[in-house]
Symmetry: C2
Subunit: 215 residues, 2 copies
Amino acid sequence: MCIPMSLNNRTNTLLERKKSFTKDTVLVDEGSAFKKFFIIHSGAVKTYVTVNGIEQINGFYLPGDIVGFDSIATQKYNNSIKTLTNTITCELKYDELMELVASDAKVRDMIFKLMSQDILNYQKLILSYSQKKAEEKLAAFIYALYTRYSERGHVSLNIKLSMSRSDIANYLGLTIETVSRILTRMQELDVLSVRGKYISIKNLLALYKLAAENN
Amino acid sequence: MCIPMSLNNRTNTLLERKKSFTKDTVLVDEGSAFKKFFIIHSGAVKTYVTVNGIEQINGFYLPGDIVGFDSIATQKYNNSIKTLTNTITCELKYDELMELVASDAKVRDMIFKLMSQDILNYQKLILSYSQKKAEEKLAAFIYALYTRYSERGHVSLNIKLSMSRSDIANYLGLTIETVSRILTRMQELDVLSVRGKYISIKNLLALYKLAAENN
DNA sequence: CGTCGGGTTGAATGCCCTCAATACCCGTGG
DNA sequence: CCACGGGTATTGAGGGCATTCAACCCGACG
């Protein structure tokens, strides 16, 4: 199953067969014509824009996430999409989804809800990243990874980062050195234990407090 | 007319009559039940959450803007809404809009497009505020005000800020002193001229460059 | 065993914040 | 008309956090 919520059978027929990609594959180039949404089945992707040759990461998408809602307005992909690891996606054609939206109230409500949730998440992210200090940002980032996996049924204190330090720093608007330093500090505080891409949360409440997630 | 795009006649009947509010009126309290969208007809509002008694501003809405898309998912208002000046709004009931969405493809497409545009704007905002320095943030903020007014037909280099310095600082994640200092610096550079709440853009291109708006 | 890319650690600079004082705006009342 | 007061905005000095620049570490891989 690819879609986050259970739908009727017709949706499944709209979902193109799963496609498999190796690490560092560019699925979409920024600016190209919008045709379909990507639903992450396994693995992870990042979305980014390139400004003056510099990549600016917009978001990371994990299993269950849908990429592409921002493209409806412009009918173009506003970001490039690249796999971070080997990744399996389902693809959902925009035109076909819209037909289904027109005919099936349940699908329509689900899409509205997903888009609304997207907006809400972005709002929180903006608050997060405009108000927080570096340590709070990183704590919030890791805590968010934990909750995102949890919501999808993968409740585990052990997280494998699919993105590099450099990607994290870029996304959070920090430097790679700062990210590294904060990770070691959190380790000294016994909040996390870090081994390369593997993070183990040792004190979830402390992490939550570091993130200053008061809402 | 309240709605940004022209719709059919039935939409107009759904729009409740205009309502007028004085400055600093709370239209909505965070967490209350979601009933309707607010469309800004004239004036301005801010949306904000209150965390530990501290207000965190989420966005400013100007004439033509619609407030409330983030509430569909939760069926609650996720932000409080307060007028910044005397403001006239139209109110659009959620249930009624959804009925119209079901029956009228044009309305549905418009709502999808508006929500998608919202998502896109938030994405840009996140990039903006996670990557930019203080001066770039403020320049981007002012430039965005200019373009937002322009898109709505108010093309003018003279902008009246409806929000206080303190609101701007809060929104951008800066301090009021920093905002003030940067405004005077931009004045010294002959990019702007500032007199209280009135800003006059003297060099739009320079402002754009300061904002590092390379996309 | 050497190299290369990613990651960590260290010292110095700079940007923005904090704290504090002063200036400005504007409505009110003398 | 001017004086006054309160809130808002500006300006100045000092400190802290994140960046920059640089060196070093480490695991993967030929």
